[in-house]
């Protein structure tokens, strides 16, 4: 018998060693597989949660961008519509101008850009487990993309609707622009065309008309402007009809000591201020009245009316009401105006000061004011123009 029997295993013992090794390997493999399953599941769940967070963040950012763009589009459309209306309005294309302006404004603000989210599906987590969650995630991305696509589609549909709406709005506003101011026979459109009001004033008046109507004060101002235009138009037309150019009138004005271009007296504050071209309504705005003082304004108003009425009467005279047109013109342009002119001045003062004035009262006021006599009327006028008096 060998002396190494204690270290030599029998075949059965060797087999038993193999069995033990196999059992140990089985235990190890089971443990490894369970660990791998657990770790993989944990990792994949974390990846899914990370993807959800990233998608939420992406969507939130895109929603914020979309919200900002919607705001820009609204402003762009408003500005574009206003510009389009102003450009196309009086020319008879207000509706089209408004619609195209709104469209251009919408486009400039990015209204035709597509809404989309930059979620790359290839970067969505893949793996062995949580197939349902991953499909839900993928479906969510599809839903989000579809929602953004729908947002783009809705926006483009909205643009088309807005185009139609802007067209109708422009047409409605255009009608407001064509509406006669009082009984003057003039409209905002014609005033704009005549260059008597700026485009900014035109737009402001149109939108005020649309939302609540022009104030009485503004209507009065515009009526004054319209009257002036009417007179100018009639005068120009009349001179043209009889073959006399406007240069003759201007020469005549110069001869009698009037401002040739405006027909205003040289003493008129506007002539002195170099603002002959200032519109009636603008010049007689309360702020200007307050700034310049009442009586220069009254005098200027009277002189202005004198001049225009004189032209008017001279023109009428030339058309058969007498043979001394120029004399009448000279008479009418005299600072001591006739009753007919005073009546016009009274109307203007009524409009400006809101009181029932007569030429006599004007003279009284003028006298009392210049002489320092404190009367109720003067006090009232003074308060109305410069504020309340104390003591």
């Amino acid at each position: 018998m060998s002396t190494r029997t204690t270290t030599t295993f029998s075949p059965y013992q060797q087999s038993l060693l193999g069995v033990s090794a196999a059992k140990a390997r089985a235990i190890t493999e089971f443990s490894q597989a369970q660990t791998k399953t657990g770790v993989t599941a944990l990792y994949e769940m974390n990846e899914i949660e990370r993807a959800v967070r990233e998608i939420n963040k992406e969507v939130k950012e895109e929603q914020e961008k979309a919200r900002r763009r919607q705001g820009k589009i609204g402003i762009g459309r408003l500005i574009g519509s206003a510009l389009g209306f102003a450009i196309g309005g009086p020319a008879g294309s207000a509706a089209l101008g408004t619609a195209l302006g709104g469209l251009a404004g919408t486009a400039a603000a990015g209204g035709f850009k597509r809404y989309k989210v930059g979620i790359n599906k290839d970067k969505l987590p893949t793996g062995y487990f949580y197939g349902g969650e991953r499909q839900d995630l993928r479906q969510r991305v599809v839903d989000i993309e579809r929602a953004f696509k729908q947002l783009t589609k809705d926006q483009r549909t909205g643009i088309v609707k807005n185009l139609a709406m802007d067209y109708l709005t422009g047409r409605g506003l255009g009608k407001l622009g064509a509406k006669e101011i009082g009984t003057t026979g003039q409209s905002l459109d014609s005033l704009l065309q005549a260059g008597e009001i700026t485009k900014g004033e035109y737009l402001a008046d149109i939108f005020k008309s649309a939302v609540g109507g022009l104030s009485d004060e503004r209507v009065t101002q515009l009526s004054g402007i319209a009257d002036t235009i009417n007179k100018e138009a009639i005068t120009t037309s009349a001179y043209a009809n009889v073959g006399v150019g406007r240069d003759i009138l201007e020469k005549g004005r110069e001869t009698v000591g009037l401002d040739p271009s405006s027909g205003l007296a040289l003493s008129d504050p506007r002539v002195q201020l170099g603002t002959q071209d200032m519109k009636v309504g603008e010049f007689y705005k309360p702020s200007n009245v307050m700034k310049d003082g009442l009586f220069p304004t009254v005098t200027a108003q009277r002189n202005l009316l004198n001049a225009t009425m004189a032209e008017d009467l001279a023109m009428r005279d030339r058309f058969g009401r007498g043979s001394s047109g120029m004399d009448l013109y000279n008479q009418l342009t005299n600072p001591a105006a006739p009753t007919l002119v005073d009546q016009k001045a009274e109307d203007v003062l009524d409009a400006i000061l809101g009181e029932d004035f007569t030429p006599d009262k004007i003279d009284d006021i003028s006298f009392n004011f210049n002489s320092g006599v404190n009367t109720n009327k003067r006090n009232s006028l003074f308060q109305q123009t410069v504020g309340p008096m104390y003591g």
Binding site: K23, E29, T40, F129, Y130, Q135, R138
Partner: protein, 197 residues
């Protein structure tokens, strides 16, 4: 192949196949299912070589022990007979004959005991083999139970049994393809990347 042994693929097929889960669905998950070593299945077979080895080794030991017992008996009988022959000259034939007879009977009894122990030893070998086979069968069954439990856990994590999830998967995939086609129809010329997929 050992009795009852199943490779992982066969195991997954036997587990998921009857439930309508195709091999394409579960083949990726074999890596998460542990193998039961084939050697352990061999131990569940009483005719396995290892038990034959056990049998042979234990029988050899028994035979050796039996042989040693018989040798001892023989030696004892020779000693007793020599004593009996010496005693016949001094104390008489009967006494020597009685001594020889007693020795023979004792030897016969010892022989019977040795023979009985040998038979019992043989039985014990088989009994041990049966018990060991039973223990190995329980062990393998335990591993198989653990494997099934692990497989079910993997199937749950992988939504293998969720028919609706698999249908949804297909439906969503179709929906996605349809969306992609619509998108490309509407915005032809744009790249797939622009669509995000």
């Amino acid at each position: 192949m050992a009795n009852g042994y199943q490779s992982n693929q066969d195991f997954l097929q036997s587990l998921f196949g009857p439930l309508g889960v195709g091999s394409d669905a579960y083949s990726d998950y074999a890596q998460f299912i542990p193998e039961v070593p084939e050697e352990l299945y061999l131990l569940t077979d009483p005719t396995a070589n290892i038990y034959q080895q056990l049998r042979e080794e234990r029988q050899a030991r028994l035979s050796t022990q039996l042989g040693e017992s018989y040798s001892g008996i023989q030696q004892s009988l020779f000693e007793t007979q020599r004593q009996a022959r010496g005693m016949q000259g001094r104390a008489g034939f009967v006494t020597g004959a009685d001594l020889a007879g007693d020795a023979s009977r004792r030897a016969a009894m010892v022989g019977e005991k040795a023979s009985s122990a040998f038979s019992r030893g043989l039985y014990d070998i088989e009994q041990d083999i049966v018990e060991q086979v039973g223990a190995e069968q329980k062990y393998v069954a335990g591993l198989e139970a653990q494997r099934r439990s692990d497989a079910l856990k993997v199937a749950e994590l992988a939504d293998l049994f969720d028919e609706s999830a698999r249908n949804r998967d297909n439906r969503y995939r179709n929906m996605y393809d349809n969306l992609l086609m619509n998108y490309q129809d509407n915005y032809g010329g744009r790249s797939r990347d622009e669509f995000g997929g």
